[in-house]
C-alpha cells in the first residue's frame, strides 16, 4: 500500500521539508505536472459519515482514501452534543424500530424518503453497538447497558450518549478505528472538482482535483468512486452553529458533476443557540438541556411553549406543566412537555415570542434548568454546557437561566440518493450524511443525525466498494488532462486579479443576505430579492482578489469555498420561493400553513449547464410508502 504522501508511481520528486508531503512538479515527465494518487474509493470529508464510509469501504476490500479539509478528528461531528438516536430499548423495552420510524417521519412532516427512514431506524442500534466494539465508552444504565436519554420528537428515551459530548466520542472512536485499519488520510486537503467522463461515455466518475492547504500545491486523485461526506451549508448564514468548513462543498460538487439536490428549502434552525456575548452568538446549546428537564420561559416568566402546540402533535403533548413534569419519570401515563416538540416547532415559537417583545435582554428567551435540577445533576449530565456558559458568558447554568435563540444548524436538503446504496444519479458518485437529502424530510429530529451518519456511511462505503469491484475488469474511467488544467486555472484565478473584491467581505455580505432574506420566516418578496442579491454577489466573485501566496492562505481558501456557498444559497432561495406552503424547516409568512398539494412533492435542483452555472428547478413526486408501513400511522391524513 502506498502512503498518502507517495504518488502512484512511488516516485517522490519534491517533498515538503517538514511534512514529507509530495509537492507538485512542473516536470514534463509527471502527467499533468501534479501529485497523483490512485484508489478504488475516495471519501471526501472525515466527519462521522466519511469515516464510517471509509471503514466500510476498506472492510469490503477497496483501496480507500479519506480527504478532508481539516485535521483528522476536527470535523463538525465533534460538535454534536446530545446523542445518537437508536431504538435499542435499553431504557424503555417498548421501543423498537417501528416507533423510531414513525417519530422520524412525523418529525419530518412525512416528506422523508420512507425507505431511508426505515433503514435508519432498523440499523441504528447495531451501528451504535459496533462503536463500542471499537472503543467508545457510552454512559451506562444500572444493568450495564448503553444508557439512553430523552430528546425532542422521540417517544421514548432513545439517545445513546456520553454526557453532552457524544459527537466527540463518536468521531474519536471512528478516527481511531480508521487509523487502526491503516486507511490513508489526506488531511487539510480540499477537493475543488470531481471529474467525470463525457456524457456520451456514461458520465462516470473518474477522479478529483484538490489542493493541500498547507502548501497550496495541487493533487489529482484517480478513482471510479467518490463518496461525498462534506456536511452542510451553515456558513452561509450569519448566526450559525456551524464551523468554517460548512460551505456546501459536496452539494456544489454534486451539482457541477450532474447530480441533483432535493429538499434544499428545508434548513433547520436549532431552537437553542447562545445569543450573548455577540462573539458566541449561534454556538449550540444542546437539546439535552430540555431532554434532561430544562424549560423555556419568556420575559414574563411563562412557559410559553404550551401556547404553541400544533394540532398535529396535540395528542402526544402534555397540556399542563404538571403533566409535562411527571412525564420525565412516568412516560406511560403522561405526555411529553411541549419544550420537546420537534425543533422546527420550538424555533418558530421562540422567534414569535421574541418578535412579540417578550424576549430576554439580549434578544433571546430563557432556557432554565437551574430551578429544576440540582447543580450536581446538571454538572454530571451537561458538563460541556456548564463549561461553555461559564467560560464564554460568565453564566453559571446551575444558578441562573441561559439566554438562547434560534441558530442555523442543519440542512435537511442534499444530494438525491438511492436509499439503499447512497448512490447519486452520477455513476460512481455517492453522498452520505448531511450532504445527502431525503432521510429527514422537512425537519430532522435531534439525535437522528449521528445515527444517519453511521447507518448510511456504512451502506455507502460498502456499496462504493462493491461498485469498484463490479467494474474492476472494465477499463477505468480516465481523468481528462484538459479538465485538470482547467481546474488548476480556476483555482488560481483569484491570484490573477489585483485590487479586486475581498473574499471576506463577500462572505459577510452573503451571510447578511441569507440571514435577512432566507431565514427562519420567509416571504416571496424577500426571497425574490435574495435571488437578485445572490446574483450580484456571483458577479462580484468573478473579480475576487487574494493577497499573499499559496501556502496556507485562508483568504484564498475562502475565495474558492465562496463559489460553493453561492451555488447552495441560490438553491435554497430558489426552492424556498417555489414551495408556497409552510412545512418543517420552511416557513412562509405569506403561506402560513401546510398545503396538501405540496405533501407529496419534492423540489429537485440541477445545474444542466456548468458553463453558465444556472440552477434548474423541477417538481418530482415523493416515493410512496408501502401499505404495511402506512398502518403505523393513525389516520390517512397523517400518512399524507
Amino acid at each position: 500500500m502506498t502512503t498518502p504522501h507517495e504518488n502512484a508511481s512511488g516516485h517522490n520528486p519534491d517533498r515538503h521539508p517538514m511534512t514529507g508531503n509530495v509537492m507538485s512538479s512542473d516536470s514534463p515527465s509527471e502527467p499533468h505536472g501534479f501529485e497523483e494518487h490512485t484508489y478504488d474509493v475516495v471519501v471526501i470529508g472525515a466527519g462521522g459519515a466519511g469515516l464510517r464510509a471509509a471503514i466500510a469501504a476498506h472492510d469490503a476490500g477497496a483501496k480507500t482514501a479519506i480527504v478532508c479539509k481539516s485535521l483528522l478528528g476536527k470535523a463538525h461531528t465533534v460538535m454534536a452534543e446530545g446523542g445518537i438516536a437508536a431504538a435499542m430499548g435499553n431504557v424503555y423495552a417498548d421501543d423498537n424500530w417501528k416507533v423510531h420510524f414513525r417519530d422520524t417521519m412525523r418529525g419530518g412532516k412525512m416528506l422523508n424518503n420512507w425507505r431511508m427512514a426505515q433503514l435508519h431506524a432498523q440499523e441504528a442500534p447495531e451501528r451504535v453497538i459496533e462503536l463500542e466494539e471499537w472503543g467508545a465508552l457510552f454512559d451506562r444504565t444500572d444493568d450495564g447497558l448503553i444508557s439512553q436519554r430523552d430528546f425532542g420528537g422521540h417517544r421514548y428515551a432513545r439517545l445513546a450518549h456520553v454526557g453532552d459530548r457524544t459527537g466527540l466520542e463518536m468521531i474519536r472512536t471512528l478516527q481511531q478505528r480508521a487509523v487502526a485499519l491503516g486507511i490513508d488520510v489526506f488531511m487539510e486537503c480540499t477537493i475543488t472538482e470531481v471529474f467525470t467522463t463525457p456524457a456520451d461515455e456514461g458520465g462516470r466518475v473518474s477522479g478529483a482535483f484538490g489542493y493541500w492547504r498547507e502548501s497550496g500545491r495541487f493533487v489529482v486523485f484517480h478513482a471510479p468512486c467518490m463518496i461525498l461526506a462534506t456536511g452542510g451549508i451553515g456558513k452561509s448564514y450569519q448566526v450559525t452553529s456551524n464551523s468554517w468548513e460548512y460551505t456546501g462543498d459536496g452539494h456544489a460538487l454534486a451539482m457541477r458533476t450532474g447530480a441533483s439536490l432535493l429538499n434544499m428549502e428545508f434548513v433547520q434552525f436549532h431552537p437553542t443557540g447562545m445569543v450573548w456575548p455577540p462573539s458566541v452568538k449561534g454556538i449550540l446549546v444542546t437539546e439535552s438541556v430540555r431532554g434532561d428537564g430544562g424549560v423555556l420561559r419568556n420575559s414574563e416568566g411563562n412557559r410559553f411553549m404550551f401556547d404553541y402546540i400544533p394540532e398535529y402533535f396535540k395528542s402526544e403533548t402534555a397540556e399542563t406543566e404538571e403533566e409535562g413534569d411527571r412525564w420525565y419519570d412516568d412516560k406511560k401515563n403522561n405526555r411529553r412537555p411541549p419544550e420537546l416538540l420537534p425543533r422546527d416547532e420550538v424555533a418558530r415559537a421562540i422567534n414569535t415570542e421574541i418578535k412579540a417583545g417578550r424576549g430576554s435582554p439580549h434578544g433571546g428567551v430563557f432556557l432554565d434548568i437551574a430551578s429544576r435540577r440540582t447543580p450536581e445533576f446538571i454538572k454530571r449530565r451537561l458538563p460541556s454546557m456548564y463549561h461553555q456558559f461559564k467560560e464564554l458568558a460568565d453564566v453559571d447554568i446551575t444558578a441562573e437561566p441561559m439566554e438562547i435563540g434560534p441558530t442555523c444548524h442543519y440542512v435537511m436538503g442534499g444530494v438525491e440518493v438511492d436509499a439503499d446504496t447512497g448512490a447519486s444519479k452520477v455513476d460512481g458518485l455517492y453522498a452520505v450524511g448531511e450532504v445527502a437529502g431525503g432521510m429527514h424530510g422537512s425537519n430532522r429530529l435531534g439525535g437522528n443525525s449521528l445515527s444517519d451518519l453511521l447507518v448510511f456511511g456504512c451502506r455507502a462505503g460498502l456499496n462504493a466498494a462493491y461498485h469498484a469491484e463490479r467494474t474492476k475488469d472494465t477499463a477505468r474511467p480516465q481523468v481528462d488532462g484538459d479538465e485538470v488544467k482547467a481546474a488548476a486555472q480556476r483555482a488560481l484565478a483569484p491570484f490573477s486579479h489585483e485590487g479586486g473584491e475581498n473574499p471576506y467581505t463577500i462572505q459577510h455580505d452573503l451571510q447578511d443576505v441569507m440571514q435577512r432574506l432566507v431565514g427562519i420566516i420567509r416571504t416571496a418578496d424577500e426571497l425574490t430579492e435574495s435571488l437578485k442579491e445572490i446574483e450580484s454577489l456571483k458577479e462580484r466573485t468573478e473579480n475576487l482578489a487574494v493577497e499573499g501566496h499559496r501556502q496556507y492562505n485562508p483568504g484564498w481558501h475562502l475565495a474558492l469555498d465562496l463559489v460553493n456557498m453561492l451555488t447552495v444559497s441560490e438553491c435554497i432561495a430558489t426552492a424556498a420561493l417555489e414551495r408556497t406552503e409552510s412545512r418543517g424547516g420552511h416557513s412562509r409568512d405569506d403561506f402560513p400553513g401546510p398545503d396538501d398539494s405540496w405533501a407529496t412533492k419534492n423540489l429537485v435542483l440541477t445545474m444542466p449547464d456548468r458553463a453558465n452555472g444556472r440552477v434548474q428547478l423541477d417538481h418530482q413526486p415523493l416515493p410512496v410508502m408501502p401499505d404495511e408501513l402506512k398502518t403505523l400511522f393513525d389516520t390517512q391524513s397523517e400518512v399524507r
Binding site: V78, I129, G144, A180, Y552
Partner: protein, 257 residues
C-alpha cells in the same frame, strides 16, 4: 464598550519570521480568535490560523498567548487589561508551517503506534455490559479534544526535539491509560507504554495538567497510575502471575502487545 486592541502576531514560515504589530477594534465578550478573525478579514487576508468550532470542542486553535499555551477560542479578552498588547505565537514544540499554524503530524504518527482496542466477545444477547463506575475513568481521558497543548508544553519534547522519536507525550499516555483501564480490553500495553512510548521519561512536573483546556487530570489520573501499573508488572511477581492467571479486576484477560 469596544476598544482598540493592540496585538502582536507571529508571522513567518519554516525559514523564519517575526512578530507583527496590529491594532484592531474589539467588542465586549470577544475572545482572542475573534480579534484575529477581524484582522484576517480587514488587514491581513492571508494570515494563517487553524480553527474549526470556535467553542472549545475541536482543539484546532492552539497557540501560545502571552507565552502561555491556550485555545484562542476560549481565551477571553477580558483576561487582559485593555491597555495590554496581546502576543500570539505558534506552538513552540512543533515546526511552523506558516504564521500561527504548526505541523502537528508528530501526534498523528504517534497515534498510529498505539495498539488498537481489542475487546472481549459480546454477551450472548449481542450486547456488552459495563458498569458506569468502570467506564468513568476512561471517559475522563476521552474528553481529550486533541488540542496538543499538553504535548506543546511538555518539556521532554519542548526543549529537546531529539526526544521525539522515543516519547509519545501526555496525550498518548492518556490513551494508553484509557485502554489499560477499559473493562473489556484484552491487550496489556504496559510494557509498550513504558518502553516504546517513553512513559519512563516523564518526571511528573504536571505542566500538561495545567494547560489542559478540558481539565483532565493527566498526571494524577493517567500518568501516575500508569507508572504504578508498569511497576506492578515489572517488579511484583505475584501481581504479574496474578494478572496472567486471574484478571486485574477487569472482565477481560489481557495479553501483552
Amino acid at each position: 464598550m469596544g476598544y482598540d486592541l493592540k496585538m502582536r502576531l507571529w508571522r513567518g514560515d519554516a525559514t523564519g519570521g517575526e512578530l507583527g504589530d496590529f491594532t484592531v477594534a474589539v467588542e465586549e465578550g470577544e475572545v482572542v480568535l475573534d480579534a484575529i478573525h477581524r484582522i484576517q478579514a480587514t488587514q491581513a487576508g492571508d494570515l494563517a490560523v487553524r480553527w474549526n468550532c470556535k467553542a472549545g470542542k475541536c482543539g484546532s486553535c492552539s497557540a501560545e498567548i502571552n507565552g502561555r499555551p491556550r485555545l484562542m477560542c476560549m481565551t477571553r479578552l477580558t483576561d487582559f487589561a485593555e491597555s495590554e498588547a496581546i502576543t500570539v505565537a505558534p506552538m513552540r514544540a512543533f515546526p511552523v508551517i506558516r504564521d500561527l499554524v504548526t505541523d502537528v503530524s508528530f501526534n498523528y504518527e504517534k497515534a498510529k503506534e498505539v495498539p488498537a482496542f481489542a475487546p472481549t466477545p459480546r454477551d450472548a444477547d449481542g450486547r456488552r455490559r459495563m458498569q458506569q463506575v468502570d467506564v468513568e475513568r476512561g471517559q475522563e481521558f476521552r474528553k481529550c479534544i486533541e488540542c496538543f497543548l499538553c504535548q506543546d508544553v511538555c518539556h521532554v519534547v519542548r526543549d529537546h526535539d531529539d526526544n521525539k522519536p522515543a516519547f509519545a507525550g501526555p496525550r498518548f499516555f492518556l490513551r494508553y491509560a484509557e485502554l489499560d483501564m477499559h473493562p473489556l480490553d484484552t491487550n496489556d500495553r504496559r510494557e509498550l507504554a513504558q518502553g516504546a512510548a517513553g512513559l519512563g521519561m516523564c518526571n511528573i512536573t504536571k505542566c500538561c495538567t495545567e494547560v489542559c483546556p478540558e481539565g483532565i487530570k493527566i498526571t494524577d489520573n493517567a500518568i501516575i497510575p500508569m507508572k504504578e501499573r508498569v511497576v506492578d508488572r515489572k517488579f511484583d511477581p505475584v501481581t504479574w502471575l496474578g494478572s496472567k492467571i486471574f484478571t486485574r479486576g477487569d472482565t477481560a484477560q489481557r495479553d501483552e502487545v
